[in-house]
């Protein structure tokens, strides 16, 4: 079990790019950023970085804000 934006998913071993595709986001999209267990994962690693059991992924995008 892994966690994506707080929700549990049976996607152990999936890459970040695959998880973003699950969310309907193109991995090259501008305004998208990813953290795993509170650390930034650079864009260049999204195709290869696999998410393991228990890891928490935060997948973020641009939102209006002051």
């Amino acid at each position: 079990m892994i966690y994506v934006n707080g929700e549990p998913h049976e996607r152990d071993g999936a890459t970040i790019a695959e998880l973003l595709a699950d969310l309907g986001v193109e991995a090259r999209a501008r305004g998208v950023a990813v953290a795993v267990d509170g650390e930034v994962v650079p864009r260049a690693e999204w195709d290869d970085r696999r998410i393991n059991e228990g890891e928490r992924v935060e997948a973020l995008s641009a939102m209006q804000g002051g």
């Binding site: 934006n5 973003l20 950023a33 935060e58 997948a59 939102m63 804000g65 002051g66």
Partner: protein, 276 residues
């Protein structure tokens, strides 16, 4: 009062202002727009055009698969530069990680640094703010910190290497204007980086006052986004920032306790009726 057939006086204003240098960029507009609170992206785009802002804030939140319309596409079409914020961060660590995520997302090392102390006031947490600012400056960020109206804290932020200081007029979204103009003046008096009034603007006169006090710019979100007519308020606040800037340069008259006639007494007609 100008009419539709009357002369257009707007082009006659002698604007001999110095350019607004911020973090190594030269901006024509001294109004930075916060994008939060607009109900529709179309309204946001219209408001951006009305403010003539060149820099707008943006946030990062969890991806919403149901989200419609691309915010970044709209902002790109408006031709504005993005200023990511760290809104919602309560610790230096969260703010630093958020700034780094924003750098990945938007390809900019500019950040509006917010580290808040509590949900009720959204006031900055000074010790955490300083820690975060120091770490981000060391990491090469151009740091624009949202800070209290505290001249000493502003000085500390400047000493750390922040590219500007952005004191609040009053709490975020409160629309309470500038509660302590004296402190804003003290910050302006000493600062050698730009001072941008951030938070508290409720209407145009608040923005004008900020500029009259000597601020270099105003950052405004809620006052425009939550106005009954956001685009009209965008025009009003843009005009107020320009008016306040002109007035600051023009130099206000001193305040006096008593009246001083503007019409000379000399040559006043003697209208006393003859005594019969």
């Amino acid at each position: 009062m100008a009419t539709e057939t009357g002369p257009d006086r707007t082009e006659q204003i002698p604007v001999t202002d110095t350019p607004f240098e911020l973090g190594g960029r030269t901006l024509r507009s001294r109004l930075i727009l916060g994008t939060g609170g607009f109900k529709r992206l179309e309204t946001l785009a219209e408001a951006i055009r009305a403010t003539r802002a060149e820099l707008v804030t943006i946030a990062l939140r969890r991806i919403d698969p149901q989200a419609r319309g691309s915010l970044t596409d709209v902002l790109d079409e408006c031709g504005v530069e993005l200023l990511p914020n760290t809104a919602g961060c309560f610790t230096a660590r969260d703010a630093v990680v958020t700034a780094k995520l924003a750098r990945e997302a938007f390809g900019t090392d500019w950040v509006k640094l917010e580290v808040i102390g509590d949900d009720r006031t959204l006031l900055p947490d000074a010790p955490e703010l300083l820690l975060a600012a120091e770490e981000l400056v060391d990491d090469g960020f151009t740091v624009l910190p949202y800070t209290n109206d505290d001249p000493i804290l502003a000085r500390r932020l400047e000493d750390i290497g922040c590219a500007a200081v952005m004191p609040l007029g009053s709490p975020i979204g409160s629309g309470m204007g500038i509660r302590n103009p004296y402190n804003i003046s003290l910050i302006v008096e000493r600062a050698s980086v730009p001072v941008i009034l951030d938070a508290g603007v409720g209407t145009a006169s608040d923005a004008a006052l900020a500029m009259e006090l000597g601020c270099d710019g105003v950052l405004c979100a809620s006052a425009i986004a939550r106005a009954h007519d956001p685009v009209a308020m965008a025009h009003a606040i843009r005009a107020a920032v320009e008016a306040g800037r002109l007035a600051r340069g023009a130099g206000r008259i001193p305040r006096r306790l008593h009246a001083e006639a503007s019409t000379p007494d000399e040559g006043l007609a003697d209208l006393t009726p003859p005594v019969r």
